[in-house]
């Protein structure tokens, strides 16, 4: 290392002074506004998500109700198809004759 460099370094203050970071009033204001805006945005996204979930739940609930309604309709239709009146009026029944004499087989135990 050259003498000139040694000379320069000798007169240097080896302890670094803490940097005095100074934020101006306007900068601070802008930063605060930015932080608040960010938080507000975060809050809005969460609330919107909750709201969207509500709509999805409502859709699912409507679908469920539709399926329950379909099931009910099918149950009613099945009951009507197997009702006494339907059976009596069916083609199968029209080809049947009333029971006359019944013969019982006896078993010897």
């Amino acid at each position: 290392m050259s003498t000139a460099i040694y000379t320069a370094r000798r007169n240097q203050n080896l302890y670094r002074q803490p940097t005095k970071f100074k934020l101006g009033a306007n900068s601070a204001t802008l930063i605060i506004i930015a932080i608040i805006s960010l938080l507000a945005l975060l809050y809005l996204t969460q609330v919107t998500k909750t709201g969207v979930l509500g709509y999805q739940l409502s859709d699912l609930s409507t679908k469920r109700d539709d399926i329950v309604t379909q099931k009910r309709d099918l149950s009613v239709e099945a009951a009507r198809l197997q009702s006494i009146q339907t059976i009596r009026n069916s083609q199968t029944a029209s080809r049947m004759v009333p029971v006359a004499a019944v013969s019982y087989a006896s078993t010897n135990n």
Partner: protein, 590 residues
């Protein structure tokens, strides 16, 4: 000269004045804000909540009803269905004629009727049709008719139509059960609605947030009834045939299991379709006559008078008496039915076979220990058997709304009480219901145990399992087993050789027990009986060795000649014959 001079006022003074002028309003504003937000906090909070929160009632699903299907388990007889109401806001209908035509083309109905409703532009609501199925509703929506809307609503559906209509009842427009099981079990069937308090958006759609308050609806209970739909259908068909044959006004049939009190059929004629209950004009058709109609049963009651005599040992089937033909009681002549002549040495079996009024009056006198006179102890004993043992004069508690209790006058020494009790021995001057008679005959059939007639077999759980309802014994030892056996034999003689001879079925000789009854109908004002009008009944059971069913047929005001043996016994026979086959009960004799 200036009106207002500022000379001599310093800058500081001006600032002070300005400060006061600003401070006072601000202080007022702060005070007002403090008042609103602190002292009136609760009021405005609630108001705010009310603005963006809505309460919804979540309707509970009404319970369903099922019936037996022989050995094939159960089938539904009452269900719920979501159908559609077609309505219009005539104010927004731009083309009433065209709209009416399109609607009529799709769902039917009178075009002009629709047009009239749609033309009333001052009206904001017009009901066009109800109970539209969902497929039709979808087609209507696709038409996108202006001013036309559709709303869904739950309806009660009875897929078997008129089957067991009076037993079931119906549900009215307010969702309340009317008549039958629907009314009796309404509280259990309707369930409990839930509550939803939710924050909503501007369209009223709830927003899922943590503070939505939900109480879930509690659906109504579903039940399995003891009714067997095959027996019910057959009973209704036979009843209709018999009523037509005898040109009668109305009638009923009841089938009951004597070993449990389970009701297998309760048929009534005329009947109605619960799906169209609002089209009925005669409300009498809603009532289940087997439980709600009390009447004087006539000679059927002789079976129970005789039961009392047998049970206390005053008579046996072969005990005899001298039949005078007529007996004077309280100054009035009480005679056997027209054509029956006096005669000596008639047995108690003959009393029932030939339905002799004098014979059962003889039993009443014996109950009191005086062979010549009706006494207070005798009447007390008969009353005890009728009311405290057989259950007449009180409701059975069957699951039917509007059950009648009937009436049995109390014994006393008052004038006219003797003649009343004399009449009671053969079923006049006493009123009963068919279900009471069936329960009492069931006690005779099973050897002395009185069961409570019931319609609910089980409660259906959400998982499809059934919680069975056990039969309830009202009282044991109504009569002794030996008295029941003796009476059973006497009642088979009625069928084999007496007025019930038409009920005899080949192969089941001496296995069908029963008694006919042809009763006069009391005038509504209580001044006597209607001339020429009667109620025919036949009450019996089979088989004697293995009683499987109690069967009662009642025909009101038949217009053909003859007593109950002509008007009711043929129907009893046909139903009995069918039941033997249905229950696979082979003949007992070859």
């Amino acid at each position: 000269m200036a009106i207002f001079s500022t000379e001599g006022i310093t800058r500081r003074q001006r600032l002070r004045v300005a400060a006061v002028l600003v401070f006072i309003p601000m202080a007022l504003i702060v005070a007002r804000l403090g008042y609103l937000q602190i002292f009136r906090h609760e009021y405005y909070s609630l108001k705010a909540v009310g603005e963006h929160t809505r309460s919804y009632e979540i309707p509970a699903t009404r319970g369903e009803l099922y019936v037996q299907d022989g050995d094939n388990g159960t089938v539904p007889i009452v269900l719920n269905q979501t159908l559609n109401i077609l309505w219009a806001n005539p104010h927004f209908v731009t083309d009433p004629g065209g709209t009416a035509a399109k609607i009529a083309a799709l769902i039917g109905g009178d075009v002009n009727s629709y047009k009239d409703k749609l033309s009333q532009s001052d009206s904001r609501y017009a009901l066009l049709a109800q109970k539209l199925p969902n497929d039709l509703a979808d087609k209507l929506r696709a038409l996108k008719l202006k001013g036309i809307g559709l709303s869904q609503q739950d309806y009660r559906t009875y897929p078997e139509g008129t089957l067991a209509a009076q037993v079931l009842g119906f549900v009215n427009a307010d969702g309340q059960g009317q008549y039958g099981v629907e009314q009796y079990l309404n509280d259990s069937l309707e369930g409990t609605p839930g509550q939803l308090a939710a924050k909503t958006d501007t369209n009223g759609i709830p927003i899922a947030t943590a503070d939505n308050i939900i109480s879930q609806p509690k659906d109504g209970k579903s039940y399995v009834l003891t009714i067997d739909r095959n027996i019910e259908a057959m009973a209704e068909a036979e009843l209709a045939t018999q009523i037509k044959a005898s040109h009668a006004k109305s009638g009923s049939v009841l089938v009951m299991d004597p070993t449990s009190g389970a009701i297998r059929a309760m048929a009534n004629f005329p009947t109605y379709d619960p799906n169209d209950y609002n089209k009925v004009t005669d409300y009498n058709v809603f009532s289940n006559q087997t439980t709600s109609s009390q009447y004087e049963p006539g000679s059927i009651m002789k079976a129970f008078t005789m039961a009392a005599g047998l049970d206390v040992g005053k008579v046996t089937p072969t005990s005899t008496y001298d039949d005078p033909g007529c007996v004077m009681v309280d100054g009035r002549n009480v005679c056997n039915a027209a054509g029956d002549k006096a005669g000596n040495g008639k047995t108690m079996t003959v009393v029932l076979r030939d339905s002799l009024n004098t014979g059962v009056m003889y039993v009443l006198r014996l109950l009191g220990g005086d062979v010549k006179n009706i006494t207070l102890p005798g009447k007390q004993m008969l009353y005890d058997y009728f009311v405290n043992k057989f259950g007449f004069g009180q409701k059975t508690g069957i699951e039917q709304s509007g059950e009648a209790a009937g009436k049995v006058n109390k014994p006393s020494t008052a004038p006219g009480n003797d003649i009343n009790y004399a009449n009671m021995t053969f079923g006049q001057g006493v009123s009963v219901t068919m279900v009471q008679m069936a329960a009492a005959m069931g006690a005779i059939a099973n050897g002395g145990r009185l069961y409570q007639p019931h319609l609910v077999a089980a409660e259906l759980k959400a998982d499809g399992s059934q919680q069975k309802v056990m039969p309830k014994v009202v009282r044991d030892h109504v009569i002794s087993a030996s008295a029941a056996k003796d009476l059973a034999q006497m009642l088979t003689v009625v069928v084999m050789h007496g007025s019930g001879w038409k009920a005899n079925i080949k192969g089941y000789e001496n296995q069908i027990a029963g008694k006919t009854g042809t009763a006069q109908i009391a005038k509504p004002d209580g001044t006597g009986y209607i001339d020429g009008a009667n109620i025919g009944s036949f009450l019996g059971y089979a088989t004697v060795v293995n009683p499987k069913f109690v069967l009662m047929v009642r025909i009101n005001e038949p217009q053909i000649d003859g007593y109950a043996e002509t008007t009711t016994v043929p129907a009893f026979r046909d139903i009995c014959d069918w039941l033997f086959k249905y229950y696979n009960m082979p003949p007992t004799t070859k």
